[in-house]
Symmetry: C2
Subunit: 152 residues, 2 copies
């Protein structure tokens, strides 16, 4: 009896994740992007990132990332720039088109989530955000990995 709410809690987390993913997929499609391309663009908005760092952020093998970057490059969304310090390495940068689409997709995603949370009182949003912050911090503590500090 007293354990039932615990079950509901994890179920709620899973359903929320599915819903957010669903919205993300829809937003990507509306902007003629695959979800993976949209995620890549979002990661690059704050500036160029190296391949190795991207594999960690996206949890991909390096060869998978090569293909993803190839296809995104062929669509004119990103480009490779040789690293001046290490001639083996390269950094992935957004093209102007990639920057435009990435920003539009990010904004659309924010709008959609705002609408979904529309009925939620302001205090609850704060609580929700800080509770999620705790969960993310717990994960970071457990794995040592951070979840891409994109700052403010």
């Amino acid at each position: 009896m007293t354990k039932e709410p615990l079950l509901r809690f994890t179920e709620a987390l899973v359903r929320l994740a599915h819903l957010v993913q669903e919205v993300f997929d829809e937003v990507a499609k509306e902007h003629d992007l695959t979800p993976q391309q949209a995620q890549l663009l979002c990661l690059l908005i704050d500036g160029p990132v190296g391949m190795t760092e991207l594999t960690r952020a996206l949890h991909l093998e390096k060869s998978s990332l090569t293909g993803l970057v190839d296809r995104a490059g062929k669509r004119g969304l990103v480009a490779r720039v040789r690293d001046s310090n290490d001639r083996r390495a390269c950094r992935i940068v957004l093209t102007r088109e990639g920057e435009r689409l990435g920003a539009m997709a990010h904004d659309a995603m924010t709008d959609r989530l705002e609408v979904l949370a529309g009925k939620l009182p302001q205090e609850h949003r704060g609580l929700l955000a800080s509770a999620i912050g705790g969960i993310l911090a717990e994960h970071t503590a457990q794995t040592g990995r951070a979840w891409n500090a994109s700052g403010s």
Copy 2:
């Protein structure tokens, strides 16, 4: 200034979704399942489901589902059962192995999320769960679609 918390709120939702997805992918892999197969098994735990209903639950085209069920069938996880009322239709059922793996994956997922939420006080869990419930209900209201009522 006063708008900053709003941005943080949607960011928190997206990051939480990514984290839950990441955990789900890991759990699936640990059980030698693709994430899509794991999701399929979880959907079938409560009983057989028809193809058309599955396409709605998984947001897939029918041909995509045919392939998914084919591969899951080849691995001995599910089977097709002709519908006795409508000879065009079939229902997808879990094999004993599919049932076993589905239950194990579901339990593992619950455990992992419990650990992640370990530091979260009980009252916050309740708030989080009910806030999420509100968001899911809002989505249902907007789209008319329900999020698979698996009951208690």
